[in-house]
Every structure is written in structure tokens, then in C-alpha cells.
């Protein structure tokens, strides 16, 4: 019962290659079926996201070795995506058994993600697992492994702070708005200009159900386009000063050498809005909002450098959580291994019993054929005595090995039994 994993991710392969080896849902299902029908694997699962493509599998009993199975999987991957194997091989990583399990658990924990601790990966693993279960790709080993991975992911996010705190400038801006206003559902925002970070902020604001969104741009046509895309109202650029009266948050990303929001304009707006709190998220470089605005009562001003600093602080805070997460991952790897060893011990004992049974059968047939003076009754008694002896000196002590609490010794014992009695011959 071995586990093989081959794959590539954002660390080992450039985006061009990752794009070529990514799997759609249909392709994942097809690849999985082909791997099983060609006898390369008996259990399969394809995990494909924008940052990684990984094939998890359990080779069939007949497979020569895990390494050969990995080789066959690599060849399959290259053929499936029509890529030169040599091109692919440099970017691929291969993990077996414990290492493969640890790798998956670390991925689920967000430790292997481009953005440390990101939560999306857990949903992607859940989805990949659901698809594999739906088309019957998984068996007892991968089922157990992926269910454990989902548990690791959940525990890590609940018990450590690896996933809390915003990690992008855009998200940090939105989180700041929540620190001031609470739920954004009854609040409004105005977007000035149209930078890519600004667009990300809009996406986060929309996710959080912001009630009103306005867009202003120097080019009216561009403003109309953006408003359509965001589902926002168009605000006249010329009437910008009066537009500062209604929003709670103003996100600026205008390409301008001079500030577009002056202190005087904000002071007038604050008077008109009875000093209702106003947050400026200034993503412009150079700055779009005059720095003096920050002194006004109930005005909060965050520039791109402030937001970057927050992200940096949060990154450090997340990194500080890594040791805790690693401990959790290790705990679950051991738990999985212990389950695996338990299942394997059962299989080894069954195999040993059947092997000894067959040996005894052949031995008695050969020796008793030279002893015609024995009655059938005597022969049955001799057979029963041999069974008793085998049970007492071999099988019972072997079964005891299963109960050794130390996992490492248990695994070693199982290996020794295999070697001693040449169980599953032909395997490494």
C-alpha cells in the first residue's frame, strides 16, 4: 500500500508550463480514468489549481515499485499534455508515502501556497476530492488521506493565525474600512480612477455587500465602462468635491502628478456630512490625497506605503505561526501513518497465514506420501498438530507485533516479517 505523488507548483515551474499542465474538471476525470485503465494506478486523484498540478495515486499490487509507478505517471502526464518529458521532468517533484502525505497536508494548511495561509486552497482540495469520489477514482487510502488533509486545513485555520489578517494591499484597505465601519452592507464607497489594485478593492467591497458604489474618472467614457463592469453609479469628475459628501470610503488610484483631493475640499465635505467618519484609501503614486487631510476630525487616511507596511506586518505575523502549523501537520501525518500501519499489519498477517498454510500443505503432502503405514486419522492429527505449532510459535507472536505502540518499530517489524517470509516478492 504505497502512495505516489508527482506534481509541479509555482516554486518549481514557470507560469507558462503550469498553464500547459493544468487540468480542467473533464480533463482531470479523463486522466484519472486512463491512469487506472492502463494499470498505472489503482487509486487516483488530480489536484489542479492556478499554482499547482498534482497527481496523487496508489499503485496496484502488481506494480513493480513505487519509483517505476512514478516514472509511468510522469510519462503519462507528458503524453496527456503533449509535452516533451525532458521539459517536464526538470520541474516535477516526486514524493512517496510519508513525504507525499506530508506534502498534501502542508498544501491543505496553506504552507505551500504563494500567499502563506490562503484559504482558497482548502476549497480547491475539497472540490478535487469530490470530483475524484464522484467518478470512483479514490479508494480507501486516498479517501483517508484527503479527508485527513481537509481536517488539517480546518484545524490549522481555526487553531492558528496563519489565515487571519489581510495579505494584499487591496484587502488590507477593505479590512481597515471594516475596523472603522463594521459591516459594510449599510455603507458606501467612491472609486476615483482605475488602477488594478483599485479594481481588487472594488471586488472585495462587492464581496462584502457594500450598499452603494460610485465611480469617477477623468475620462467620462472610461468611468461609464468601469461603472458598468462594477455595477456602480457614474460620478461626475467635475463635481468631485460635492461627491465627497456621501461615501464612507474613498478609494483613489488616479495617475496624476498633483493631489486630486485637497484638504480644503475634504474640510468642506466633512462639514457638509456632519463629520461622519471618512476613510481614504490612497493607492496613487504620487499621492492622490493631500497629506494634510489626515489631521481633519474623523478622517482616516491610508496611503499605499501604509497599506504595504500593514501587509508586511501581517506577513511576519503569519510567518511566526508556521512552527505551530508544522506541529499540527506532523501530528496528522503520524496519525495517518499509524492508520496505514494498522491496515498494513492486518494485510501482512493475512498474507503470512495463507503463505504458511500453503507451505504446510505442500510439506505434508510430500512427507506423508512416504509414510503409507499412517491411517488417514493419523495424518489429520499430524496436520492439526502442525497447525497448532505454527499458531503458537509463529502466528501469535507475529500478531503481537501489531500491537507495538511505537510506530517506527511497528513499521520495521512489518518490514522484517515481509523480508523473512518473502511476502509480496518482487517488491522493493
Amino acid at each position: 500500500m504505497e502512495i505516489v505523488l508527482i506534481g509541479l507548483n509555482h516554486r518549481t515551474a514557470p507560469v507558462e508550463l503550469r498553464e500547459r499542465v493544468s487540468f480542467t474538471q473533464e480533463a482531470a476525470k479523463l486522466a484519472s480514468e486512463q491512469l487506472r485503465s492502463q494499470g498505472v494506478l489503482s487509486e487516483t486523484l488530480v489536484l489542479s489549481t492556478c499554482n499547482r498540478s498534482e497527481l496523487y495515486g496508489v499503485p496496484p499490487e502488481s506494480a513493480a515499485s513505487a519509483k517505476e509507478s512514478a516514472g509511468a505517471m510522469e510519462l503519462f502526464l507528458a503524453t496527456f499534455h503533449q509535452i516533451e518529458p525532458a521539459v517536464l521532468n526538470d520541474s516535477l517533484y516526486r514524493h512517496y508515502d510519508r513525504e507525499a502525505v506530508r506534502h498534501l497536508f502542508r498544501v491543505a494548511a496553506g504552507l505551500d501556497s504563494m500567499m502563506l495561509g490562503e484559504a482558497e486552497i482548502l476549497g480547491q482540495i475539497r472540490e478535487a476530492y469530490r470530483i475524484a469520489v464522484d467518478h470512483g477514482g479514490t479508494g480507501p487510502v486516498l479517501n483517508r488521506m484527503f479527508q485527513s488533509a481537509l481536517e488539517v486545513g480546518k484545524r490549522v485555520r481555526a487553531e492558528t493565525q496563519i489565515s487571519t489578517r489581510p495579505m494584499s494591499v487591496a484587502f488590507a484597505g477593505v479590512k481597515l474600512a471594516e475596523r472603522i465601519f463594521g459591516s459594510l452592507r449599510s455603507h458606501s464607497a467612491l472609486i476615483l480612477g482605475a488602477g488594478s489594485t483599485g479594481e481588487q478593492v472594488v471586488a472585495h467591497l462587492r464581496d462584502r455587500g457594500i450598499s452603494r458604489l460610485g465611480v469617477a474618472n477623468r475620462s467620462r467614457q472610461r468611468a461609464v465602462e468601469l461603472a458598468e463592469r462594477f455595477g456602480a453609479d457614474v460620478v461626475d469628475w467635475e463635481a468631485l468635491d460635492s461627491a465627497l459628501i456621501w461615501p464612507d470610503t474613498v478609494v483613489c488610484s488616479v495617475a496624476s502628478s498633483e493631489p486630486v483631493v485637497s484638504r480644503a475640499a475634504v474640510r468642506r465635505a466633512m462639514a457638509a456630512r456632519s463629520n461622519r467618519s471618512l476613510l481614504f484609501v490612497d493607492l496613487g503614486v504620487p499621492r492622490n490625497v493631500s497629506p494634510g487631510v489626515a489631521d481633519l476630525y474623523n478622517v482616516y487616511l491610508y496611503g499605499v506605503d501604509d497599506l504595504k507596511e500593514i501587509v508586511e506586518q501581517n506577513k511576519r505575523a503569519r510567518e511566526a505561526e508556521i512552527p505551530k502549523v508544522e506541529v499540527l501537520v506532523e501530528e496528522h501525518v503520524t496519525k495517518f501513518e499509524s492508520w496505514q500501519a494498522g491496515v498494513e499489519a492486518g494485510a501482512v498477517l493475512r498474507e503470512l497465514r495463507s503463505r504458511l498454510g500453503a507451505e504446510r500443505e505442500a510439506f505434508l503432502r510430500e512427507r506423508l506420501s512416504d509414510m503409507p503405514h499412517l491411517s488417514p486419522d493419523d495424518k489429520r492429527r499430524i496436520a492439526a498438530l502442525m497447525d497448532e505449532l505454527l499458531e503458537r510459535v509463529l502466528l501469535e507472536p507475529a500478531a503481537q507485533l501489531k500491537t507495538v505502540p511505537d510506530l517506527r518499530r511497528k513499521v520495521q517489524n512489518l518490514e522484517a516479517l515481509r523480508d523473512l517470509f518473502r511476502l509480496d516478492q518482487g517488491k522493493p
Binding site: 487553531e159 487571519t164 475596523r179 463629520n275 476630525y297 474623523n298 506586518q313 505575523a317
Partner: protein, 277 residues
């Protein structure tokens, strides 16, 4: 009866302290880890602490035949209970547990202070009637609610300072939003003001029945009118947004300084007939 009641009360006091301390632990863990389980634990332990505390007060009330107000021990204990109860109400109403970690230390401190003072041997006090008991209970509730609004406003000021200076530590991400803090503080002041008004009305009726006049010119009466005025001012100013935010919170903190003055200075040294409240 009273001989039997005392050991029982000691057990209840111990249980109350343990529950409140556990509740504080739960709220702190909730603030540090953001795990809901810890928050729920904090709330459950607070409820159990309130129940034990109530039974302890009940034991005392039974032997005194009235609300325990005639010594520092009883009155502080009542204050702690009402503070915890008001906080629980606010937590359930606003569905926000993140300030529990800041309120519980006050509850524990006041309750412990109450226990450290010698409890007067409970003797049935002269029949004062329910009017006086209601007057005292509602006024203490009012002060407890004001204490709560003080804690919330203080947190507001700290968080607002951090947000405006753009010095965000890890704690800012765990606090409730500024607007939630302000809403909670306002609800607390509304509860305080309403109970203080009703409590004062009962007090006036009682004093009129005893002495035949409503107003006695006692320093406590004067400072209470001032307190009513400043809190009413807080609510009135808060209606116009220009006073919302840090200014309103600073005013709320200042108002509570007056409450403390009334509590510590006026009661103990100036008032003729308000001993502990």
C-alpha cells in the same frame, strides 16, 4: 438561619469568582485566537458566575430582608453583579463578544473588593419598604451601565488613536469596529440614564413620604442632577454627527469621572444620608 446561610454564601462567593475568572480567560482567548468556542465559553461562564453571584446576594438579602445596600460589601457586590448583567445584555443585543475581555477585569475587581471588606452582620434593617430598595437597585444599575459605557469609550479612544496614527498592532484586528463600539456605548448610556431617572423618581417619592419634601439640597442630589445632565448632553450631542466619534467618547470618559467623584467623594465625605450610593 443566618448561621446556616454563611458557609453556603462562602461557597457561592468562591464559585462566583471561579466562574468570572474562567469567563475572563474565555474572552481573552477569544480575543487572541478568534475561536468562537472560547467566546461561547466566556459567555457561558459569565452566565454561571451571574447565577452564583445572584444566589450569594439572595442569601444576604434574605438575612437583611432587603437589597444589600447598607454596607460597602453588599453595595459593591450588587454593583459588580449589575455591571456583569448589563454587559451580558449588551453582548447578546449587539452580538459582539470582543469587549468581554475588558469588562470582566472590572467585574472581578469590584467583586473582590466587595469580598475584601468586612461584611456587616446582617441585621434586619428598619422597614424601609420597596421604594427605597428599588431606588437603590435602579441607581446602581444606572452606574453600572455608565461604567460599561466608560470601558467601551476608552477602548474607542485607544483604537481610534491607533487607526488615525496608522500604527496598527495585532490587537486592532481583533477589536470591534469603531462604529460598533460607539453604538454599544450609546445603548449603555441609554440604559444607564433610563434606570437612573426611574431610580431617582422612586427615591424622591420615598423621601417625600418620610420627610414630606422632595428636595433636601444634599450634595448627592446636586451631583446626581449634574450627572444626569452630562449624560443627557452626551446623548443629545451624539444626535448631531459632528460630536460623534472621539469627542463623544472623550465626553463619556469625562462623565464617568463625575460618577466616580459622586461615588467616592460625595458619598463618603459630603452626603448626609447617601452612604454608599
Amino acid at each position: 438561619m443566618s448561621r446556616l446561610a454563611f458557609p453556603m454564601r462562602n461557597h457561592l462567593v468562591l464559585l462566583t469568582i471561579v466562574s468570572y475568572a474562567g469567563s475572563l480567560g474565555g474572552y481573552v482567548a477569544f480575543l487572541a485566537t478568534a475561536r468562537r468556542l472560547f467566546g461561547r465559553l466566556g459567555t457561558l461562564l459569565l452566565i454561571s458566575g451571574l447565577a452564583c453571584h445572584y444566589l450569594a446576594l439572595l442569601e444576604r438579602s434574605r438575612s437583611a430582608h432587603t437589597v444589600p445596600y447598607d454596607d460597602l460589601n453588599g453595595s459593591l457586590s450588587l454593583f459588580a453583579w449589575l455591571l456583569a448583567a448589563t454587559y451580558l445584555g449588551l453582548e447578546l443585543f449587539h452580538r459582539d463578544r470582543s469587549v468581554g475581555a475588558f469588562v470582566l477585569p472590572f467585574v472581578i475587581a469590584v467583586f473582590s473588593l466587595a469580598q475584601s471588606t468586612q461584611a456587616a452582620v446582617p441585621a434586619p434593617s428598619p422597614a424601609q419598604g420597596p421604594l427605597l430598595a428599588l431606588h437603590i437597585t435602579l441607581n446602581v444599575l444606572g452606574y453600572a451601565a455608565f461604567a460599561l459605557s466608560f470601558v467601551l469609550s476608552a477602548i474607542y479612544l485607544v483604537q481610534n488613536g491607533l487607526l488615525r496614527s496608522r500604527r496598527l498592532g495585532s490587537i486592532v484586528w481583533r477589536f470591534p469596529a469603531l462604529e460598533s463600539l460607539e453604538r454599544m456605548s450609546r445603548s449603555s448610556v441609554i440604559v444607564g440614564l433610563a434606570s437612573l431617572l426611574v431610580g431617582i423618581t422612586f427615591g424622591l417619592l420615598w423621601v417625600n413620604r418620610i420627610w414630606g419634601r422632595y428636595w433636601n439640597g444634599d450634595p448627592k442630589e446636586i451631583i446626581t442632577v449634574v450627572i444626569l445632565a452630562v449624560y443627557a448632553g452626551y446623548l443629545w450631542l451624539g444626535r448631531t454627527r459632528s460630536w460623534r466619534g472621539a469627542r463623544a467618547s472623550a465626553l463619556c470618559v469625562f462623565n464617568f469621572v463625575l460618577v466616580l467623584f459622586s461615588y467616592c467623594v460625595v458619598n463618603l465625605y459630603l452626603s448626609n444620608f447617601h452612604r454608599f450610593f
